[in-house]
């Protein structure tokens, strides 16, 4: 560390003025504290949702009903999905956005720190409500996370609780997205141009616009469910002149962009990690930006590929089939760019890079099964089978979850000033990578053989692969405890991290002292630092 950096670190330490005790967290306005709370919250929800997944896989270990009755099984599938999407992955991305975006654009904090506090503190109450709904008369929400009427309207007292919880999550996401957009658009340090921002900032900016566009659509859909149930409207009731299929259109108009909300920040993370461990600049930076924007645009015109089997004119099927296939083009641009970044690079395989590579390979596998599902006539066969379950778990687990973990390993030294245990990190990676494939790959076979999703029991011909899948689930699930252990061990007693633990890392956050001071970029970074950080 140079004298200058020593001075900078000391100056930052003197001005930390960090609040202590519970007030630091309840009244938090510091982006790093709020980022930490989001990440811890996401981790807790990941384990709660993961436990539900293990209940599902335990029940499916062999045919017949062994552990839970069908009603509870349906509650588990429904709440597992809601928790993982809205409680684990989305808050984890917001946590990473909070930690990284101000540091990466040279801003002292998020633009709206008190709104940031409010966005976070809505979440624990939303999820208490959702999880609490499992314990009310009539049981928890059990109609699937897609909440299709008329089934969902036949639920018990849990419906208004689940709907209110979804409204709260939506409000939290919209407020968080507003904060991200104004931070990026209005708080960038002088000299940080749009086209020299890190890819993570770019992908989050696009994600935030998607959130603002589609979370109100979900809110509208569930509001109409609520009025149908309690106030005598008939938006989705055919008997009253409404249309249940209309709900599906509205839901998936939200639901498909939501998929990209869950995955676009992952593209950003991978675009930071692969260049670092390849010791080369990212190949095709601008094409990555345009590809992300194209994916976001296309996500609005493909929604009905989730609904091929509801009955649709042939022209509609053709349109949604072809528009869905178009997404392969910008996604292919990204995959080839990541491969080209590694080409002739000086590669090393530390834990973040291993997770990023697993993402690259397994997300691509999930993308290919997505292309199979996009073919309307083939989808008639695959629809609502385990093939779909395998597809979206390949996209979301090695896609979103692996990259969140890669990001934690990658930036943990900068956040905490401590290194994680590389050997244990690699153990965590290999157990996760093997577990996830043993868990989800056999589900392709089950689906192609005709096993429907969302059932607690099945025909005996599906027994073997279900057993394999359940074994994989337990390997994957329990290996995540190792992740918590590695992170806690690093925070408590990890070796001291250097200012730039990865010599190939570029970006303004790496120009800060390690650990990152409580208040960073109180003075905007100099043009020289910006130029050094912008070597993508």
């Amino acid at each position: 560390m140079s004298h200058h950096e020593h001075d900078a670190a000391a100056a930052h330490d003197d001005h930390d003025h960090k609040p202590y005790g519970w007030k630091r967290w309840v009244y938090a306005t510091n982006h790093k504290d709020i980022g930490t709370m989001y990440l811890v919250f996401a981790c807790i929800m990941f384990f709660v949702g993961g436990s539900m997944a293990l209940v599902i896989r335990l029940e499916l270990f062999q045919p017949g009903l062994q552990f839970v009755d069908p009603a509870i099984f349906n509650e588990m599938t429904t709440v597992h999905a809601l928790l993982m999407i809205f409680g684990a992955v989305m808050p984890a991305w917001t946590g990473l956005a909070n930690w990284l975006i101000p540091m990466q654009v040279g801003a002292p904090d998020m633009a709206l720190p008190r709104l940031n506090n409010f966005s976070f503190w809505i979440l624990p109450f939303a999820f208490m409500l959702l999880i609490g709904s499992l314990f009310v008369p009539g049981g928890g929400p059990a109609g699937g996370w897609t909440l299709y009427p008329p089934l969902v309207l036949q639920g018990g007292d849990s419906l208004p609780m689940a709907i209110f919880a979804i409204h709260m999550m939506g409000a939290s996401s919209i407020l968080g997205a507003i904060n991200v957009i104004v931070t990026i658009m209005n708080m960038r340090a002088p000299g940080v141009g749009l086209l020299n921002m890190p890819l993570f900032v770019w992908t989050w900016l696009i994600t935030a616009y998607l959130l603002i566009a589609v979370m109100p659509v979900l809110a509208g859909a569930v509001t109409m469910l609520l009025t149908d149930h309690f106030f005598g409207t008939s938006f989705f009731s055919a008997a009253g002149g409404g249309d249940p299929v209309m709900f599906q259109h509205i839901f998936w108009f939200f639901g498909h962009p939501e998929v990209y909300i869950l995955i676009l920040p992952a593209f950003g993370i991978v675009s930071e990690i692969i260049p670092t461990f390849s010791r080369k600049p990212l190949f095709g930076y601008e094409s990555m930006v345009y590809a992300s924007a194209s994916i976001a645009f296309l996500s609005f015109i493909v929604w009905a590929h989730h609904m091929f089997t509801v009955g649709m004119p042939l022209a509609g099927q053709m349109f949604f089939m072809l528009s869905t296939m178009l997404i392969a083009i910008p996604t292919g641009v990204k995959v080839f760019n990541w491969c080209a970044t590694m080409w002739r690079g000086s590669l090393t395989f530390e834990t973040p890079m291993l997770f990023a590579l697993a993402f690259l390979f397994l997300f691509t596998c999930g993308g290919f099964s997505g292309l199979m599902l996009a073919i309307a006539p083939a989808d008639f066969q695959y629809h609502d089978t385990y093939f779909v379950v395998a597809h979206f778990h390949y996209v979301l687990v090695p896609g979103s979850i692996f990259t969140i973990m890669a990001a934690v390993y990658y930036w943990l030294p900068k956040w905490t000033g401590r290194m994680y245990d590389e050997t244990l990190g690699k153990w965590h990676f290999w157990l996760s990578a093997i577990g996830v494939n043993v868990l989800f790959f056999p589900q392709h076979f089950l689906g192609l053989a005709g096993m429907p999703r969302r059932i607690p029991d099945y025909s005996v011909q599906f027994s073997d692969w279900n057993m394999v899948s359940s074994i994989g689930a337990f390997i994957f699930g329990f290996s995540q405890l190792l992740f918590v252990y590695v992170v806690v061990k690093a925070v408590r007693s990890g070796a001291k991290a250097p200012a730039r633990p990865w010599e190939g890392a570029h970006g303004l956050e790496w120009e800060l002292p390690t650990p990152a001071p409580y208040h960073s970029w109180t003075e905007p970074p100099s043009p020289a630092l910006i130029a050094r950080g912008a070597e993508h």
Binding site: A111, L112, L115, I174, A177, I178, N179, I181, V182, M185, N186, M187, I212, A213, M215, P216, V217, A219, G220, A221, T223, M224, S234, F235, A239, G240, G241, G242, D243, M246, I250
Partner: protein, 41 residues
């Protein structure tokens, strides 16, 4: 506060309110469009 800082905080406030209004408008528009799509009993 400097002029530049005041200006920036004004931009932040204006842009956040605008984005919030867009979100609210989308919420209302989707419910309204479903109301208009109802065929009646």
């Amino acid at each position: 506060m400097t002029d530049e800082a005041t200006d920036r905080s004004r931009r932040v406030r204006r842009n956040s309110l605008l984005l919030g209004a867009v979100a609210l408008a989308i919420y209302v528009a989707f419910i309204a469009s479903t109301v208009l799509g109802l065929r009646g009993p």
